[in-house]
Symmetry: C2
């Protein structure tokens, strides 16, 4: 199975749907800059991993993708809003993302904050568009779950703790705590969110949540490894920035070799969480190693 | 009917429910500052007008209030998040709100941005808590409507245009455009949102939306009048700030007397929009004059 091809096909569908869902700047609009800023960051070349994970779980439950495209786009809008706000001067103060100037560099801080706010809000409209096909109770449960993973108990908490701990070295537990919320929570939203839409049983959701958290951790370990030894031209960003910024990473905590072993071990645990699903979970089972050994 | 008493009773119920719904800071939490910042702004003495409007419409449709308290709290969370972000240095740069230091003055800009993000996200969890009692299709429609009024086509668009137009005098149409989105949109969300939960007919929702927009305008005209001739000790903020900041208001556009007449005329139009509802709409019918003649 060609996973790169899977993600790139899904990304094509997601991009077309995002273009439909997002407000379109037009002549004479006073709020045109808001719509431009929303689109600028959404169409900045993201790989649409979260929608890809979401669809992989729908496939596991033998559900049709198409009707759920807007829900997947909602997940991507939440991810994008979080990047815009994380890049702000008051947060990580980043001038570049994926090789392009960040939102506040192009549109100013006020409009960047508002573009993030608007994307987060619009994500709920996008997810609720699936009301036409999804069973209402399942949709309500899935949207509630996505909000919980994105908010004060999930992604926003992760960014909060990241800021609180800024400038000091972290312990392994703290680093994990931040990653589980900053990355893991939205992986959970995508993976267990799809399972809720599919009407999965409680044990299935528990297994998939375990898988999502391990997969998020693998993703983050790979990120740290790539910043140490990756190819900047493939990554589209300079490598070595973690070391330069004295950021605690799995490399700084345990060294490159140990981080690699930890990545392999965690990937194995992610695969093991899928045991109950049998052959249907093939795609999901390949993802941890794929994420670990990616080069960009 | 004692309207002040109505709002203050409802505010008591809303405050108790908000306290239940919001995350509680506890010992050893790394994200405790986020929970504190969320609560600091939510419990800053707001009058809970939007929940009050929401309940007034439930009453119009003879619905029981109690089960919908979390939905009303969601509306208040959205209102609060918008105030936190509006006050940021990159936006209106306000140091004080309701006589207390603004969120970023107390918690820093990063945590203020995150507290706003978390409140907006948590608002959806709050609204979805009513899933236990509301008909699922109605709840889905109401949440979708609230998101639409709060986002890129509503409240966020209003703040965007406010920022875009900063520093120059506005025309009457521009001023109205901003008010309809910054204030009117969330009034609509509260009023028509409740009507959607009640399963109101399309014409009823159209009438209530018309009413909500006029009511929002009346509210804003009164705001402008109070800043000109109000009592700062009752308002809890210095008066005359609009003039000092060269802000376009209904006073600067048409003078005090004409603004008063415009307020009375608009209040009459709001009342007229309720014609179809008969005696059941008594409370709603009293609100435009109440808002126009308030002293704080």
């Amino acid at each position: 199975m060609d996973i790169a091809k899977y993600f790139s096909e899904k990304a094509g569908e997601v991009n077309a749907c995002l273009d439909e869902l997002l407000p379109r700047p037009g002549a004479g609009q006073m709020e045109g800059v808001l719509f431009e800023a929303m689109r600028y960051s959404v169409f900045a070349g993201g790989k649409r991993l979260r929608p890809g994970l979401f669809f992989a779980v729908l496939r596991l439950f033998e559900m049709d993708d198409r009707p759920y495209l807007p829900f997947a786009c909602g997940l991507e809008m939440i991810h994008t809003y979080s990047l815009i706000h994380d890049d702000l001067p008051a947060m990580d103060d980043d001038d570049l993302r994926r090789g392009r100037p960040t939102s506040h560099k192009v549109f100013g801080e006020a409009q960047a904050i508002l573009a993030g706010d608007a994307l987060l809000t619009h994500a709920f409209n996008a997810m609720l568009q699936t009301a036409a096909c999804a069973a209402p109770e399942r949709l309500l449960a899935a949207v509630d779950y996505v909000a919980r993973q994105s908010g004060a108990f999930g992604m926003v908490a992760g960014q909060c703790v990241d800021i609180v701990c800024e400038g000091r070295e972290l312990g392994a537990e703290e680093l994990r705590y931040i990653h589980e919320r900053k990355t893991g929570a939205l992986f959970c939203a995508s993976i267990a969110g799809a399972a809720l839409l599919a009407g999965a049983r409680e044990e299935e959701i528990a297994d998939l949540t375990e898988y999502a958290l391990k997969l998020g951790l693998v993703f983050q370990i790979a990120d740290d490894i790539l910043d140490e030894i990756g190819d900047g031209s493939k990554l589209g960003k300079p490598v070595g920035s973690d070391k330069k910024n004295h950021k605690t990473t799995y490399i700084s905590l345990m060294g490159l070799e140990e981080a690699r072993r930890f990545g392999e071990k965690t990937a194995g645990e992610a695969e093991a969480a899928l045991q109950g699903f049998g052959a249907r979970a093939e795609l999901l089972r390949l993802l941890p190693r794929y994420f670990l050994h990616r080069d960009c």
